[in-house]
C-alpha cells in the first residue's frame, strides 16, 4: 500500500512542534509588550480642540505662567480648565475678531462653556491631587512634558500605574525646587543625585506606595 505520509512530514511535524513551543512563550510576551505601546496607553495622543490654542505662543512666546490659566493647581485636586473670562483681558486687545476666536466670543455671549477635549485622563478609581504634587516639587513638565513646545497639547506620559509608581518609589529622582515647578526645560544646577534627597528631606516627601494613597 502507498506510504501514509510523504518523506517531508518528519520535518513538518518537527517545525510544527517548534512553532507551538515558540507561540506558548512568544504570544504572552508580545501581549505584554503591546499593552505598553502608545496605541494602548494613549501616550502622545493629541485630540483636536474647539480652539487651536497654541501653548507655544502663550508659554514660550508670551512667557505666561501655567498658573495664570490653570489657577487651582496649587489649591485643589484639579489644575482647572480656565474660565472663558480668563482669555478676555488680553484678547479684548488682540485677536478679538479672528474667526479662530469665534468660540470664545460665542461662549462669552451665551455663557455656554467651551467644550475642550480631555487630554490626560486617569481611570475613575484613581484619585490624583494636583495641589499636593505641586507643593512637594513635582514639576508640571515632569508629567505633562514640554507643553511650551506643543502646538496642540498631547498626553506626554503613558499614565500607567507602574509609571506613577516609578516616581512614588523614588521621588528624589524627579523632584525640583518648588519655585521651579512651572519652569519648562528645567535642569538641576547640581546633580539630581544630591539635590533630590535634599528636597525629599526639605519638603518631607514620603514614599507613598500604599494603595489608598491613590485608590479610595
Amino acid at each position: 500500500m502507498p506510504a501514509l505520509f510523504p518523506r517531508s512530514s518528519n520535518r513538518t511535524i518537527r517545525l510544527t512542534l517548534a512553532a507551538a513551543a515558540a507561540a506558548i512563550v512568544g504570544i504572552p510576551l508580545a501581549l505584554m509588550a503591546w499593552v505598553r505601546t502608545p496605541a494602548i496607553t494613549g501616550q502622545h495622543s493629541a485630540p483636536a480642540q474647539p480652539i487651536p490654542f497654541d501653548h507655544r505662543i502663550h508659554v514660550t512666546g508670551l512667557q505666561i505662567d501655567c498658573r495664570y490659566c490653570h489657577s487651582t493647581a496649587e489649591r485643589a485636586a484639579t489644575a482647572g480648565i480656565p474660565a472663558t473670562s480668563v482669555c478676555v483681558p488680553c484678547h479684548s486687545q488682540v485677536w478679538r475678531d479672528g474667526p479662530v476666536f469665534a468660540p470664545v466670543r460665542h461662549s462669552l455671549a451665551t455663557g455656554t462653556p467651551i467644550p475642550w477635549q480631555r487630554v490626560n485622563s486617569l481611570p475613575d478609581y484613581v484619585f490624583f491631587n494636583h495641589a499636593i504634587h505641586v507643593r512637594k516639587g513635582v514639576g508640571c513638565e515632569t508629567c505633562h512634558g514640554r507643553v511650551d513646545q506643543m502646538a496642540r497639547v498631547e498626553q506626554a506620559a503613558p499614565l500607567t500605574m507602574s509609571w506613577c509608581l516609578d516616581c512614588h518609589r523614588g521621588p528624589e529622582r524627579y523632584l525640583r525646587p518648588v519655585e521651579q515647578v512651572t519652569t519648562m526645560g528645567w535642569r538641576p544646577a547640581r546633580p539630581q543625585t544630591d539635590l533630590g534627597p535634599e528636597l525629599v528631606r526639605q519638603y518631607r516627601v514620603a514614599r507613598l506606595t500604599h494603595c489608598s494613597a491613590c485608590h479610595r
Partner: protein, 1002 residues
C-alpha cells in the same frame, strides 16, 4: 485596566445623562449639555451658591440663565474638587433640626448635623441623613396636574386665586378648608394669617398620624395652656420613662440622646452615672438602654404611673422629708387612692424611693402614645419630685395653634362628608393613607368639589384629589422652622429645583392672589420684620451661615396648676386596665409615618431591635406567641374594632405579654412610589378616630390561604441568631461589679503571644473606640456610613439571602431569659486588625495594610475570590454579588460621594475608616506643611451619643488615647491575636441595688 464602565469618580461622566439634562433643562436652558465641563460646573455651583449663605443674594437661582454670565469667571469660594458645607434645617413632626449639608460641585451629597443647632449639636438622625435620597428620588412628582391631565403652575395658580376660589367657597371662605401638618414655622404662621385675612371663616386644620396630641390636652388640663416640657437630661440622676422612646423616637431625640449619654459615659469606675427606668409594652431603643425595664401592656402604664405618684407623694408629704411642690389635699387624697397593681409593688416602691432620693435631679417623661392622664401624672410626679424649674422647664408650645381644636381631624372630615367644604387644600402629609380608617378620609375627600394636593409625590392623597402641585424638597426650598425648644432656624436651598414645584408658603401666597410670590422674598420680608433694628443684611447672612437665629429659643414660663381639673382627671384613673389582648401602634424607626417608605436606604435599614428590613410585622412576646400558637413568619389576621389586617408575626424577646405591637408606615400603594408599593402591611387600617395608638380587644388568628393552608411569609432580618453563646463579644457589667472589679475586661485585651513583634508605626496611626455604655443602637451611624461611602442596597431578596451591604452594622444580642432579656447593642465594622487575617489570604494583594494602620481595600485590584471574607472572624466584608449600581437611577447617582469609588460587580468592599476623609486631611496638612488635623469618620460624626471616638494612637492629647486607657476597654475575639484597631468599652449598667437582678437590664 479599567474596562468596568461603572467606575466613576467625578461628575464628568455622571452629570452628562439624559435624565439629569432633562431635569436641568428646565432650570438651565443654556449650556445644560456642557455640564460635563469643569467650567460650567463652576458656574453651576456659583448660581446655586448664589442661593446660599455667603452669597446672600438667594432667589436668583430661580432664574439662573441670566446669572451665568457674570460667573463665567471663576467664583472664588468654590473650587472644583473641594466640598463645601451649607447650613439648613429639616422639619419633621412639626419641629426643625439644624443640619449642615455637604455639597460637591453644586450637588448636595451628604447631610450632617449642625453643631450650632440645639436640636442637633452636630448629630444627625436616620431620617435627616436619608432625606438626601428623597431629594433625588426619580419617582417624585414632576409637574402639576389638573384632573387627569398634566397642567402648569399658571393654571393651578389661577384656580387658587381669590377670583376663581372666592365664588366657590364664599366671600368669607366658609367653604374653604386647609389641611396642613403640625408646624412651628413662623413663615407658615404668617402666611396662614394672611389667608385668614382673606378668608376669615376658612377652616384651617392640622393633622399628624403620630401622636394623639395627648400631651397638649394634658397641658390644657393641668395648666390651661399648651405648655411644652423641656427636659434637661444632663442634670438628671434618675429617669423614668412612661412608654416614651425619648432616645430615638421624639422630635428632640438627638439632643436628648446626647445629654443622656453625657451622664452615662463613665471614664473611671469611681464616676457616677444616671439610672434609667422604663415602663413600656414593646421593646424600644430607650427600653433596650434601660437599667430596669418593666414590660407591661400599654394600657397598664397609666395605673403604674398612678401608683408611682401615690408612692412618691406618700414619701414627699411624709414629715421630715424634703420634697418638691406640695400637692393640695384633695388631689393628694385622690392620688393616695391609686394602688400599684399586684406583682409590681416591690418594683414601684424601689423606684419611688430612688426617685425621692434625688430631689430635683430626676425626670419623669411620658410617651405621646399614652393618654392625657398619664401626661398629667408625669407633670405631677415632676412637680412632686421638685424637678420643675430644674430638670423640667415649661415653654409655650412652638407649634401653631397647639392644643386648639384645629388639631382634630374628625370635624374636618365631618364637614367634608356633609358637603360644607367646597374646596380643600391639602399641604404635605398623606391623610388619605394615614387618617384613621374609620374616618374614611379618602371617601370624604371625593365629596369635595375642588380638592388640591401639594406634596412631593403623587401618592394616595394626590390620587384622591382633583388637582396636584408638586412641592419642593427642603433642600430646594426657602423656608423656616422652630426646634422643640423654640429656636428658629432657616431652611435654604442647596440646589435648584430638580423637577420644579412650589413651597408651602408660595402655595398659600397663591391662595391670596399672589401666585408669583417667591418663598425667598416672603421669608426675607418676614424676618426683616423680626430682625428690626439690626443691620438686616448682615444678621440675615449670619443666620444663614450659622443655620440658627441667635437667641430665638422660647423663654421659660412657670406653670399655674389647675388642681380642680387635675383632681377630676385623676379621679378616673383605673387601677387595672382590661386584660384582653392589646394592639399597640408604633412610629417606625425607618419609614417614620410612611413618608419615607420610598427611600431604599431606610427600607433596608434594620429596625434597631428586631433587625427587620423591608416591611413590618406583628411583634409579640414568645410566651404570647406560644399561647396563640404562632411562630415567626406565620401570617396572622389581626381583628381589631371590626377591621382586620393580615401581617406576619415576629417573636420579639422582651415584648410585653398579651400585647401585639405593629409599626405604622408600611403597606403603601395606589401611588407613584414604586419602592414603597406593597412593602409590609398598612397598620393605619387599625387606627381609629379616637387616635388611640393602643387598645384592648384585639383578636389574633392564623391567616389561611385560598387553599385553606396557613400562610407564611419570609421576613428579611439582618441577624438570624441573637444569643452570644457565651462568647466574649459584647461585654457588659453592672456598675457596682465594675467598681468591685475594674479589671473585668482585662483578659480580653493586651498582648497575645505571637511570633511577630507587634509594632505601632510612627506618624498617624488611626484607631477607633466604641463605647457600648452609651450606644443605644439608634442606627444613625449606619445611614451615615451608607451615605458617605456610596453603599448600595440589595432589596428584600438580597437581605433574605444574607447579602446586605452595610459596612457598619449594629449587632443586637439578647442576654438572659427569652421572655425578658437584657439587650446589648454592638456596632460592628471592619476592625482594621493590625494582624489582619484577610490580608495574607488575598492572592492578588487587593487588601493590604497602610503605614497608618488602615486595612485597605483596593476595589480595582480585587478579582473576587472572597477568601478574605471567609477568613474574617468578624464577617464585616461585603461582596458585590451583582452590579448593584446598575439599577441606581441617574438622579440618585447624584447623591453619590465623588470622593469614593463606586464599586462594580464582583469585588469585595468594607469599612475603610473613611479613608477619603483621612487622605483629604493629610493632603491639606501636606499643603500647609502642618501635622494632620482632626479627622472624623461619618459614623462618629452622626452619633448623637458620641459613642464613637476616632483618632491617632500617636497623639497623646487625643480623646482616643484617653478613652483607650479606660479599664473597660477590650478587643472583640481578642484571643485570635488579630490586634484590632477598633476596640470597645464594655457596657456598664446601673441597676438599683434594691431590686433583684432581673434580666430586664440589671
Amino acid at each position: 485596566m479599567s474596562n468596568d464602565r461603572h467606575w466613576w469618580r467625578d461628575l464628568d461622566e455622571l452629570l452628562d445623562t439624559p435624565d439629569f439634562r432633562e431635569a436641568l433643562g428646565r432650570e438651565f436652558p443654556a449650556g445644560a449639555a456642557e455640564l460635563a465641563d469643569g467650567m460650567t460646573r463652576r458656574s453651576f455651583v456659583r448660581l446655586l451658591g448664589a442661593s446660599i449663605a455667603l452669597a446672600g443674594v438667594g432667589g436668583c437661582f430661580e432664574r439662573p440663565r441670566e446669572r451665568i454670565l457674570p460667573y463665567v469667571s471663576e467664583p472664588p469660594e468654590s473650587t472644583p474638587g473641594l466640598a463645601r458645607h451649607y447650613a439648613t434645617s429639616m422639619t419633621l413632626g412639626g419641629y426643625a433640626t439644624g443640619l449642615l449639608v455637604e455639597s460637591h460641585a453644586g450637588r448636595p451629597t451628604k447631610i450632617e448635623g449642625n453643631p450650632d443647632h440645639p436640636a442637633s449639636l452636630g448629630a444627625a438622625g436616620v431620617y435627616e441623613q436619608a432625606s438626601i435620597l428623597q431629594l433625588y428620588d426619580p419617582e417624585r412628582a414632576r409637574a402639576p396636574r389638573l384632573g387627569r391631565g398634566k397642567s402648569s403652575w399658571s393654571d393651578v395658580g389661577a384656580l387658587l386665586s381669590p377670583a376663581r376660589l372666592g365664588p366657590l367657597v364664599g366671600a368669607r371662605g366658609a367653604g374653604l378648608g386647609l389641611l396642613l401638618e403640625p408646624s412651628a414655622s413662623p413663615l407658615s404662621s404668617e402666611m396662614l394669617g394672611r389667608v385668614r385675612e382673606g378668608y376669615p371663616e376658612a377652616g384651617v386644620h392640622f393633622y399628624s398620624p403620630l401622636g394623639s396630641r395627648a400631651s397638649d390636652r394634658a397641658a390644657l388640663t393641668a395648666f390651661g395652656r399648651a405648655l411644652l416640657p423641656q427636659y434637661d437630661f444632663r442634670s438628671a440622676d434618675v429617669v423614668l420613662s412612661l412608654d416614651a422612646d425619648f432616645l430615638a423616637g421624639v422630635p428632640f431625640s438627638l439632643r436628648y440622646a446626647r445629654d443622656f449619654a453625657d451622664r452615662r459615659r463613665i471614664a473611671a469606675p469611681t464616676d457616677e452615672m444616671n439610672r434609667l427606668y422604663v415602663i413600656e409594652p414593646g421593646l424600644s431603643v430607650t427600653g433596650g438602654t434601660a437599667d430596669h425595664r418593666l414590660r407591661v401592656r400599654a394600657g397598664e402604664v397609666e395605673s403604674l404611673a398612678g401608683a408611682v405618684l401615690a408612692e412618691v407623694t406618700r414619701r414627699v408629704n411624709a414629715p421630715g422629708t424634703r420634697g418638691g411642690q406640695g400637692i393640695p389635699g384633695d388631689v393628694a387624697s385622690v392620688i393616695s387612692g391609686l394602688e400599684p397593681p399586684p406583682g409590681h409593688r416591690e418594683w414601684i416602691t424601689a423606684l419611688a424611693r430612688d426617685l425621692d432620693a434625688h430631689p430635683g435631679r430626676t425626670i419623669v417623661i411620658a410617651g405621646e402614645r399614652q393618654p392625657p392622664r398619664v401626661h398629667v401624672l408625669a407633670h405631677l410626679l415632676n412637680a412632686a419630685l421638685g424637678n420643675v424649674g430644674r430638670t423640667v422647664r415649661y415653654i409655650e408650645s412652638p407649634l401653631l395653634e397647639a392644643g386648639a381644636p384645629s388639631h382634630e381631624l374628625a370635624p374636618l372630615v365631618e364637614a367634608m362628608r356633609g358637603g360644607a367644604v367646597r374646596a380643600l387644600l391639602v399641604l404635605d402629609g398623606n391623610p388619605a393613607y394615614t387618617a384613621p380608617a374609620d374616618l374614611e378620609f379618602a371617601a370624604a375627600l371625593r365629596r369635595v368639589p375642588t380638592s388640591i394636593y401639594h406634596g412631593l409625590y403623587e401618592n394616595e392623597t394626590a390620587r384622591a384629589c382633583g388637582a396636584f402641585v408638586p412641592s419642593l424638597h427642603y433642600l430646594e426650598s426657602w423656608a423656616d422652622g422652630r426646634a422643640w425648644d423654640g429656636t428658629a432656624s432657616l431652611v435654604q436651598p442647596l440646589v435648584a429645583p430638580l423637577y420644579g414645584g412650589k413651597t408651602d408658603a408660595e402655595l398659600l401666597a397663591a391662595l391670596i392672589g399672589d401666585s408669583e410670590a417667591g418663598a425667598h422674598e416672603l421669608l426675607q420680608e418676614l424676618w426683616r420684620g423680626h430682625m428690626a433694628g439690626t443691620d438686616f443684611a448682615n444678621a440675615w447672612d449670619e443666620a444663614l451661615q450659622r443655620g440658627v437665629i441667635a437667641g430665638s429659643a422660647a423663654s421659660e414660663t412657670t406653670p399655674a396648676w389647675r388642681w380642680g381639673a387635675i383632681g377630676t382627671e385623676l379621679a378616673g384613673t383605673r387601677a387595672r386596665a382590661d386584660t384582653s389582648l392589646e394592639l399597640v401602634l408604633d412610629q417606625d424607626p425607618s419609614v417614620y409615618d410612611g413618608r419615607f417608605a420610598n427611600n431604599v436606604w431606610l427600607q433596608e435599614l434594620p429596625d434597631p431591635v428586631t433587625k427587620l428590613t423591608w416591611g413590618n410585622a406583628a411583634l409579640l412576646s414568645p410566651a404570647t406567641a406560644a399561647r396563640l400558637q404562632v411562630a415567626t413568619g406565620d401570617v396572622v389576621e389581626l381583628a381589631y374594632h371590626g377591621r382586620t389586617l393580615r401581617v406576619p408575626a415576629f417573636l420579639l424577646p422582651g415584648h410585653a405579654v398579651d400585647s401585639v405591637s405593629l409599626r405604622l408606615g408600611y403597606g403603601r400603594g395606589a401611588g407613584d412610589e414604586a419602592v414603597a408599593d406593597g412593602v409590609g402591611a398598612n397598620a393605619y387600617r387599625l387606627l381609629t378616630g379616637g387616635m388611640a395608638h393602643f387598645g384592648g380587644g384585639l383578636a389574633v388568628s392564623p391567616a389561611l390561604g385560598d387553599d385553606g393552608a396557613p400562610l407564611r411569609e419570609r421576613l428579611a432580618t439582618t441577624q438570624t441568631h441573637w444569643r452570644l453563646e457565651g462568647r466574649p463579644v459584647a461585654l457588659r457589667a453592672a456598675l457596682d461589679d465594675y467598681r468591685r472589679n475594674p479589671a473585668f475586661a482585662e483578659p480580653e485585651r493586651g498582648r497575645v503571644l505571637s511570633l511577630y513583634e507587634p509594632g505601632t508605626g510612627s506618624g498617624d496611626q488611626w484607631a477607633m473606640v466604641i463605647d457600648l455604655a452609651t450606644c443605644t443602637g439608634c442606627s444613625a451611624c449606619v445611614v451615615a456610613c451608607q451615605a458617605e461611602n456610596n453603599i448600595p442596597v440589595v432589596g428584600k431578596e438580597g437581605v433574605l439571602d444574607g447579602r446586605e451591604m452595610h459596612w457598619l452594622r449594629i449587632d443586637r444580642y439578647f442576654e438572659g431569659s427569652v421572655e425578658d432579656p437584657a439587650v446589648l447593642m454592638q456596632p460592628m465594622l471592619c476592625q482594621h486588625c493590625e494582624k489582619a487575617p484577610c490580608e495574607y489570604v488575598c492572592p492578588v494583594s487587593a487588601t493590604l495594610h497602610s503605614p497608618d494602620g488602615l486595612n485597605e481595600m483596593v476595589y480595582n485590584r480585587c478579582i473576587g475570590t472572597r477568601f478574605c471574607s471567609n477568613n474574617c472572624p468578624y464577617k464585616v466584608r461585603r461582596f458585590n454579588w451583582f452590579d448593584y449600581n446598575a439599577e441606581v437611577a441617574e438622579t440618585e447617582r447624584m447623591a453619590k460621594n465623588p470622593d469614593v469609588t463606586v464599586r462594580g460587580r464582583g469585588v469585595m468592599e468594607k469599612c475603610t475608616f473613611c479613608v477619603q476623609r483621612i487622605r483629604e486631611a493629610q493632603i491639606a496638612a501636606g499643603i500647609e506643611g502642618a501635622a494632620t488635623g482632626e479627622v472624623r469618620t461619618a459614623c462618629q460624626q452622626a452619633c448623637p451619643a458620641r459613642a464613637i471616638t476616632f483618632g491617632s494612637l500617636n497623639d497623646p492629647e487625643s480623646e482616643l488615647v484617653r478613652r483607650r486607657a479606660e479599664p473597660r476597654r477590650y478587643a472583640v475575639l481578642h484571643e485570635l491575636g488579630t490586634v484590632p484597631r477598633v476596640q470597645y468599652l464594655a457596657a456598664i449598667t446601673n441597676p438599683n441595688p434594691e431590686l433583684p437582678r432581673g434580666d430586664g437590664g440589671g
